[in-house]
Amino acid sequence: MTARRFIVPALALLAWLAAAAPAAAERLVVSLSNHRVAITSNFVGEELVLFGTVERDAATVPRRGGYDIVVTVTGPRQTLRTRRKDRVLGIWVNVDSRVFVRVPSYLAVLTNRPILEIANAETLRRLQIGIDNFLLTQRIGADIADTVRDDPFRVAYVRLQTQDRLYGEIPTAVTLLTPTVFRAAIPLPAEVPTGNYAIDVKVFADGAPIANTTSALEIVKAGFERYVANAARDHGILYGFATAMLALLTGWFASVVFRRD
């Protein structure tokens, strides 16, 4: 009798929780293979691996369509100018330009299938998922705002960054090892900018976001590369004299080695 008195409200509570807050049912746990990428003299790019699992408990409702994973990696922010050439008096000149203010230097959207299959366009836009939906702020007059996604400067900017492999949407980068365990490959090209990177992981089920978590990554120069970069930045004049001396020494050495007369 007493047991039954507790079970009924408990079941009712569970049912209410499941109905009212389905998003709280799953938990997302991720782990990055390496939080600190060291750039040394033999660095030619790298691939980082992010493992994750969608934790379910007894109360989790079964998902018919399975889970979809979206991993968005953003690099340190920078301000860039995108310029357009046009013909003026027979020569090609930069005639127009737009300044992109504090946009990510690196932007990768990694998913297990094309993003349009994961959720509808409205949801993707609201959550800024995919490069087309990512906020790329431009300075327009005195204002700073994003433009429509087919703005020619925005399109050109994304295209050029994609050519340099700094921007990209990879719909095959996430692999679901089991229905709840996944692996995401983060490609870092050789020209990857140094600095702090943010990783945002979202889980979708039936077209709706149900859980998300964040992680971080740091790309730094190490060893000799770090020493040189620091010297150039902190002791510019000394570094300059040292480089000039190195030049003279190299020149003198060559003339001694190759002396024939």
Binding site: Y157, A229, A232, G240, S255, F258
Partner: protein
Amino acid sequence: MQIYLPIAELPVNIFLVLGMGIAVGFISGMFGIGGGFLMTPLLIFIGISPAVAVASVASHIAASSFSGAISYWRKRAIDLALAYLLLAGGIVGTAAGVWLFTTLRALDQLDLMIGLSYVTLLNIVGGLMIYESLRAIVRARQGNPVMLRRPGSHTWLHGLPFKLRFKRSMVYVSAIPVWVIGFIIGFIGAIMGIGGGFLLVPMLIYFLRVPTATVIGTTMVLTLVTMASATVMHSATNHLVDVVLAFILMVGGVIGAQFGARAGQKMSGEWLRLLLGLLVLAVGLRFAFALGVRPDDLFSIRLVEGAP
């Protein structure tokens, strides 16, 4: 073999860069020019940002012109008095050029200005050199060699006051045109990011009638001083000199310059001038082509310094 460049922030093939250093070094040793107008576009072509390319090339040029200058010094083919006077003008010219550079940069038309100056200067200088040297070669073939410095063939430049005797070069000219030439080289060099050797060589030959042999050695001394100071200035202000890139270029450059200097000594002055003229014209036409032909991509991205 790939090596990551700490300041340029990208990996490059060590042998490719070394090869570029040797090739440009050979040309620079042969003609007594720095070769910056060849090396900077090459580096930009392999993906190094223009600012790092210009800054690092300066130290490469310093190395190859120093090694070249030593060989010319041993052959007693350097006129130090002439070099000092040119430098005096060059320093003032550089300061004026840096000022204009900053102004144009603020107006966002620097690229166009640089492109137009390259086209104008290289094509005019290259064309004139080819014309003159071909004429000299043809006359020599006809058994009627013309001396560049015929006695009494003085131009109005030789009538100016403050005359100085430059013993090594065997010329007696006014200090004014020498100083002005130094100023022009410094000014143009600062705007275009080049040493200006390819301009100085013809100017000394045609305006001051300095013999080709001493012109090259003297130009090398001038290039050495301006490029060594440019290295220090670039390091102190922009922090963009990549010492790893510069060192690979230097090693290639000095090797190339040694062989180039020997090849240059073996050739006659007219042929040397013809070859340099062709080279200068080729680069000039390349720049003209780039300005006149519709580019593959109308859009380009440039990093804005100092993000707000």
